[in-house]
């Protein structure tokens, strides 16, 4: 394709991607970091801002994911994520690559549990309990421990990466926004695949993807196994324009739209709780089980499950009425849910810029004193309070405006009616309303 650059054309990059060692070494480091994070959460200071687990997971990693991994690499984090490693070792019967017969029942994931519904639910749970998860080292450690154990157990029962594919809330987040990312794995020549009967790429793919059928990067974890096993050298790792998976020709499901709406709601709620001046809201979100928390949880669910989906559904319905397009509302919502991808991604990046500018001052102190025990290994233990500068505020405004510009373009391109202007106008109004709310929360 003309607007793609196949990275495997460059010999050094090709060897780095084809060899399992570089990826294994990076994953070994992330696994060690993951284990250390759990230990720090269990054994270190109970004060979140003094504990490595809180600062590295919710400030350093969460920031890097949204500012670097997703916008520049799509699901690139998934390619070095340590969570599925132990389960995969057992499934493969080997550490670096499959060797002989592995352990596990190898069952297929139930059909009725497929799609993004569970991942969206998981992300909602993170949001509901975020004030505690993001501030309590013990809770963060237990959540991480629970996740890796669940991933291990599921890999012993089900085939491939069941946890990553269907349950991981972060996988849902990265998969959704990977559609806008600039990296993709695709086949070079589809006729070569069609003539190759063994499908070694599909057999080797831990994500259960068949590269010839890949039309979107949502479910491809960029693990590069297909590249390594293809006997025909027919796999490309392309750099592509941002947003390449979004358009009138790609197929989308209603669960993707729901996931996109959950992400929008979470961006709004996290901005209000963590960056807003409303102390009572923070206290309510923190006091799990109390009366005020139930009110918070009710408002959270109302926004996530009723108000935002209702407004979005209304926008899609109004677009159909205005343009005279006759299509089921569910199908139209699934297709037009693509608008939520640039809108949500840029909103999360803007939120993260605000968050990172003010909270990054906590990172160096916990490097010197990871358990909050009063150590000072590197002489950086003195915590400094961060400030939002005018640069960070302008950047947030610019990012939100870019998201709205991008969403407007996507809305206009995907409607497919003879009156794209009329059909997309309500979607653009929905996007503008969301952007206005985010701008008010971040710089208002």
């Amino acid at each position: 394709m003309m607007n793609r650059v196949d990275l495997t054309r460059f010999p050094t990059i090709r060897s780095l991607l084809r060899s399992r060692w570089p990826q294994f070494l990076i994953r070994a480091i992330t696994l060690a970091g993951f284990v250390f994070t759990i230990l720090a959460g269990l054994l270190g200071s109970a004060v979140g801002s003094h504990n490595f687990s809180i600062i590295f997971v919710w400030i350093a990693w969460w920031t890097a994911l949204k500012l670097f991994f997703i916008p520049f690499g799509g699901r690139s984090w998934c390619s070095i994520c340590p969570i599925p490693m132990p389960g995969e070792w057992l499934q493969n019967g080997g550490i670096l690559q499959p060797k002989g017969k592995g352990i596990g029942l190898n069952l297929r994931w139930p059909k009725f549990l497929r799609g993004d519904w569970l991942q969206a639910g998981g992300f909602m749970m993170i949001g509901l309990f975020s004030a505690v998860t993001l501030t309590s080292p013990l809770v963060t450690a237990l959540v991480l421990l629970g996740i890796i154990v669940l991933s291990l157990v599921l890999s012993l029962v089900f085939e491939r990466r069941a946890f990553c594919n269907y349950l991981c809330p972060i996988g849902g987040f990265t998969g959704l926004y990977a559609q806008a990312g600039p990296v993709e794995v695709r086949v070079k020549d589809s006729s070569v695949c069609a003539a190759h009967s063994e499908k070694t790429c599909y057999t080797a793919c831990p994500w259960g993807q068949y590269p010839l059928a890949l039309k979107s990067s949502t479910a491809c974890g960029l693990c590069m196994e297909c590249l390594r096993v293809c006997p025909k050298d027919n796999i490309a790792v392309n750099l592509r324009p941002w947003g390449s998976d979004l358009g009138p020709k790609t197929k989308h499901r209603l669960d993707e739209t729901f996931l996109g709406l959950v992400m929008l709601a979470s961006a709004l709620i996290d901005s209000a709780v963590f960056l807003g001046p409303w102390g009572e809201l923070k206290s309510a979100a923190y006091a799990i089980g109390s009366g005020s928390w139930w009110v918070f949880a009710g408002a959270f669910l109302l926004l996530t499950l009723v108000i935002l989906p209702g407004l979005f559904g209304l926008a899609v319905w109004a677009g159909q009425k205005l343009s005279g397009v006759k299509e089921s509302l569910g199908k139209a919502m699934a297709q037009q849910g693509q608008v939520l991808v640039p809108l949500g991604m840029m909103a999360w990046i803007a939120f993260t810029v605000s968050f990172a500018f003010t909270k990054f001052g906590y990172v160096l102190p916990v490097v010197s004193d990871p358990l909050g025990n009063g150590w000072n290994f590197l002489g950086t233990a003195a915590a400094g309070v961060g400030q939002e500068t005018s640069t960070s505020l302008f950047l947030q405004v610019g990012l939100l405006a870019l998201g709205l510009f991008w969403a407007t373009r996507v809305a206009g391109r995907i409607t497919g009616s003879k009156n794209p202007g009329k059909q997309s106008a309500p979607l653009i109004a929905f996007s503008a309303l969301f952007t206005l709310a985010m701008a008010w929360l971040l710089v208002g």
């Binding site: 607007n3 109970a46 004060v47 979140g48 801002s49 003094h50 004030a131 501030t135 309590s136 324009p241 358009g247 009138p248 020709k249 709780v273 963590f274 960056l275 807003g276 001046p277 409303w278 102390g279 009572e280 923070k282 206290s283 923190y286 003010t358 909270k359 906590y362 915590a383 309070v385 400030q387 939002e388 500068t389 005018s390 505020l393 302008f394 405004v397 610019g398 939100l400 405006a401 870019l402 709205l404 510009f405 991008w406 969403a407 407007t408 373009r409 206009g412 391109r413 497919g416 794209p420 202007g421 653009i428 503008a432 952007t435 206005l436 701008a439 008010w440 710089v443 208002g444």
Partner: protein, 123 residues
């Protein structure tokens, strides 16, 4: 515990503003974005400091002393005069929509030239 009261303060640009910080439970601090202004108060103690609010806009103030789990999120807001950044954000949003529609319109016009099929560009 992790909140300022009042959490939102509105003043006019150019006002002399005196902040009296009273910590009612543990040690708290007060650091104001955009201004070189910092206060720290021991429990039960009142400290105060005055500054001139000479920058207009909306500024967050934060607790600057680790006071517990929600400390990084103990935030308040000082509004000085008009928040022109928010108004500019609204104007930029309108421009973003207009630019998005204009670029769509131009690609649709290019795509509808006689030699090419009528429709929107997929790119």
């Amino acid at each position: 515990m992790f909140q300022f009261s009042p959490a939102e303060i509105t003043v006019n640009a150019g006002d002399r503003v005196t902040i009296e910080l009273v910590a009612t439970d543990v040690v708290h601090g007060f650091s104001l974005d955009g201004y070189d202004f910092n206060l720290t108060a021991e429990p039960g103690q009142t400290v105060s400091k005055t500054f001139v609010a000479d920058h207009s806009g909306s500024f967050r103030f934060r607790c600057s002393v680790a006071c517990g789990n929600l400390h990084p999120f103990m935030i308040g807001k000082l509004q000085v005069g008009q928040n022109s950044l928010f108004l500019r954000a609204i104007a930029l949003g309108i421009l973003a929509v207009a630019a998005g529609m204009w670029t769509l319109h131009s690609s649709a016009r290019k795509a509808s030239k006689p030699t090419e099929p009528i429709g929107m560009s997929a790119g």
